[in-house]
């Protein structure tokens, strides 16, 4: 991976995307990078498609990732990964939680959840790592830690050591959730490392 990079976080409002991007951003800063993170709050958060954009390097100007320039796409919901296909390039890495959250039209039975939704990405020759983050987090003891499972799975594609993330989790996450998040991170990391 180059010294500069663009990480696009995607998923559904309420999945802990902001925290996941926060932990990653702090890890990048701890490793000495300049980093900028952009996100959207408010109405978009209520169960809708959400993204957080994280850019790092020697000097970052724009907080927004250009289409075609995301190096990593980390999607917390399966279908949402495919929504951001135009942001990817041939060398992008896609880490995707295989959990499916039905959008209203699917939940109402009007249209089916798209089949083989990740094929649209992998058929372009892009590497896709599927992570069953929900069940892994459940095994770690807290389904809400699925976001940190995903950060763990992504960490193998970033230049920081595990200890950097651990120290961020130890300082940035409330004490009562630390242990489960450390376990979640390790379990996620084990998939890709």
């Amino acid at each position: 991976m180059a010294a500069t990079g663009n990480i696009l976080f995607s998923g559904v409002g309420g999945q802990g995307i902001l925290l996941a991007s926060e932990v990653t951003a702090y890890a990048l800063l701890a490793a000495g990078y300049d980093a900028k993170k952009s996100e959207v709050h408010g109405m978009a958060q209520r169960g809708g498609s959400v993204t957080a954009q994280l850019r790092y390097g020697d000097k970052v100007y724009s907080p927004l990732i250009e289409p075609g320039k995301a190096d990593i796409l980390i999607s917390f919901e399966m279908m949402e990964a495919t929504r951001y296909l135009p942001y990817l390039h041939k060398e992008s890495k896609v880490i995707v939680n295989t959990q499916q959250i039905k959008p209203p039209s699917v939940a109402m039975g009007q249209i089916p959840y798209p089949d083989d939704v990740l094929d649209a990405i992998s058929s372009q020759g892009i590497q896709v790592v599927a992570v069953d983050a929900f069940d892994i987090a459940k095994d770690a003891g807290e389904v809400k830690a699925a976001n940190i499972v995903m950060v763990g799975a992504m960490s193998a594609f970033l230049p920081m050591e595990v200890a950097v993330y651990e120290s961020i989790i130890n300082t940035r996450i409330p004490e009562r959730f630390r242990e489960v998040n450390l376990k979640a991170f390790a379990a996620g990391r084990a998939i890709t490392a």
Partner: protein, 585 residues
């Protein structure tokens, strides 16, 4: 952090995306008095009062909030300040969470105030501190504009030096300066013009507006977040970066224009800089190339100027849309479900999470204009419709929005004999912006116990005789209350009261979800029609139905996702076939 270091002592604001987090963060600092005001006009006036008392003060609001605060804004321009006063306007290009995308640089022009625009977090900190010095030195309030991609961006900040106001805290009477009767105001009007002249000199200096040398073939004039996109798209080019976008440095702009072969003005939204630069007689490109709607980004800026530079992108996939939705267990759903059944009723809506009641399957909101407009638009419609509107006009408003500007409308409705129904959706919090307390919550900005407005007593005090409070999770009771209110031949209020599911005490409570006895489901879709994200429908073919033991003609069945369900019970109360029950019962 910047406001704290700038020595701000009093700050007031009303939550609104993307401005909310400023006050939330400032409230954590010792020695700064912070509060949530019921609306932006109140918030700005509180800040003006603190400035008159000789301390540095601060008002925050989103772009549309400045419309509400515009009345004091235009006149505090005349009075000037004692302690430094900065007003933050957080604009929302692209309307991520707003009803319009007005460009509030126009307010600086109209109210004759300096406009400071940072492009990123570290600069926002530097500029905010400098704005307080500007405010006190030139006796002027300062408008400070950020946009979504400045506000909701996180970057690296470093602690800096603490500053202090040059004013002394205390009562100081200066009627000629701050009693704005016509005679005094006419004198101050002249002072405002003199001040704008002096501020033009500041704009010419390098304090906020700097030329970054580079290739002079193309020169860019830009400010705010657009500067970052220009730097990425055209890193070699020379740039005149404007951190003060009103008043403009005419000399500097003309010199810069003369130094480049071709001049581009790159700005988000309105051609604000472009129009003023063209009025100086300077030729430039601007909105002939750069879009005037929505957000910009690096590739939009690059390809607007160099169309051939567009990257070949992967085509987007055809996926179902995922619009936002009310949460599982949202109390508002009970009201909107009932309203969705009243097909001939017009629902005049308002601004908040409950605006999502507009979306299918409930589709139970018929208008939404601005904060507080629900009750007033309903009144206007009823007056126009007369007999035709009888029993058919309902307005809905949240607790926070009711305190914001809804109460004025209710007073009008009572005074002018409205025969409509106002539903106050009281979920105990300002939910959309992320759980901020309001005058009816019983807590202040820090979460400490505070006086709470009694909404029932308030409605009765302004003269509403019929005020009924109902639990919206009880769908039948909610229906009865709405029907009863619609039959009354005078102004009626229904208060729908149940806490927001995102409140920590609800969110962190032990889950008590419902589940589906799918064998009992007859496929009536009553529960599915609530549009709850925890409930989903599975289609079946006749063969599948028979194989599962259902009647052949049953088209499908409903399933509750127990992880998402928070046990509100709205669906269970609608199910007539005992297919939904508490888990474990």
């Amino acid at each position: 952090m910047a406001a704290y270091e700038a020595g701000v002592k009093v700050a007031s604001g009303y939550p609104g995306t993307p401005s909310t987090e400023i006050m939330e963060n400032l409230s954590k600092y010792e020695g700064v008095y912070t509060e949530w005001a019921p609306n932006e006009k109140v918030g700005l006036e509180v800040a003006i009062g603190a400035s008159f008392a000789g301390v540095r003060s601060f008002a925050t609001m989103k772009h549309v909030g400045v419309n509400v605060a515009a009345d004091p804004l235009f006149t505090v321009s005349y009075t000037g300040v004692r302690g430094g006063l900065v007003i933050i306007t957080a604009d929302d290009p692209e309307m991520h969470s707003s009803q319009n995308e007005q460009d509030n640089r126009n307010y600086a022009y109209a109210a004759k105030l300096p406009m400071i625009e940072p492009s990123e977090p570290a600069e926002a900190k530097k500029f905010l501190k400098a704005s307080y010095e500007l405010s006190e030195e030139y006796d002027t309030p300062v408008l400070f504009r950020i946009t979504t991609r400045v506000a909701h961006v996180k970057g690296v900040l470093h602690k800096g030096e603490m500053m202090e106001s040059s004013a002394t805290c205390g009562i100081e009477k200066a009627p000629a300066k701050i009693v704005m009767l016509p005679g005094n105001a006419r004198n101050r009007r002249k002072v405002v013009e003199e001040r704008m002249g002096k501020l033009r000199e500041v704009a010419e200096s390098d304090t906020f507006n700097m030329v970054e040398p580079g290739d002079t073939k193309r020169g860019f004039i830009t400010g705010g977040v657009a500067y970052l996109y220009v730097k990425e798209a055209f890193p070699e080019a020379t740039v005149l970066k404007l951190g003060m976008t009103w008043p403009l440095p005419e000399k500097k702009i003309k010199e810069f224009a003369a130094s480049v072969d071709e001049l581009f003005v790159v700005e988000e939204l309105d051609p604000f800089l472009e129009h003023h630069i063209k009025a100086m007689g300077v030729a430039c490109h601007g909105k002939d190339l750069i879009p005037s709607q929505g957000e910009l980004n690096t590739s939009i800026v690059r390809t607007a100027i160099d169309p051939d530079s567009a990257l070949k992108l992967f085509a987007p996939a055809d996926l179902p849309m995922r619009p936002p939705n009310m949460c599982a267990g949202c109390p508002h759903r009970g009201v909107f479900f009932n309203l969705s059944k009243m097909k001939d009723v017009f629902v005049s809506g308002d601004i908040g999470c409950y605006t999502l009641g507009f979306l299918p399957p409930l589709s139970a909101m018929d208008s939404c204009v601005c904060m507080g407009a629900s009750v007033t638009i309903a009144h206007g419609m009823a007056k126009a419709l007369r007999e035709k509107g009888k029993g058919k006009i309902v307005s809905v408003i949240g607790d926070s929005t009711f305190c914001h500007t809804g109460i004025n409308g209710l007073m009008n409705s009572v005074y002018n004999d409205s025969k409509t129904v106002l539903v106050i959706l009281d979920n105990r919090i300002t939910a959309m912006t992320g759980q901020q307390n309001n005058p009816a919550s019983g807590c202040n900005i820090k979460g400490e116990a505070a006086n709470a407005i009694d909404l029932e007593a308030l409605c009765k005090a302004v003269g509403v005789k019929h005020v009924e409070t109902v639990n919206p999770h009880d769908i039948a009771a909610c229906k009865k209350a709405l029907k009863a209110a619609l039959e009354i031949d005078e102004m009626a209020v229904v208060i729908s009261r149940a806490p927001c599911v995102l409140l920590p005490e609800i969110k962190n409570a032990a889950p008590n979800p419902y589940n589906t006895r799918t064998e009992n489901c007859v496929g009536c879709r009553s529960c599915v029609n609530l549009g709850c994200p925890a409930i989903s429908w599975t289609n079946m073919t006749p063969e599948e139905a028979v194989a599962k033991g259902y009647k052949e003609k049953q088209k499908g069945f409903a399933v509750i996702n127990e992880v998402q369900c928070n046990g509100c019970g709205q669906c269970a109360s609608l199910c007539k076939f005992e297919a939904i029950n508490r888990k474990g019962e």
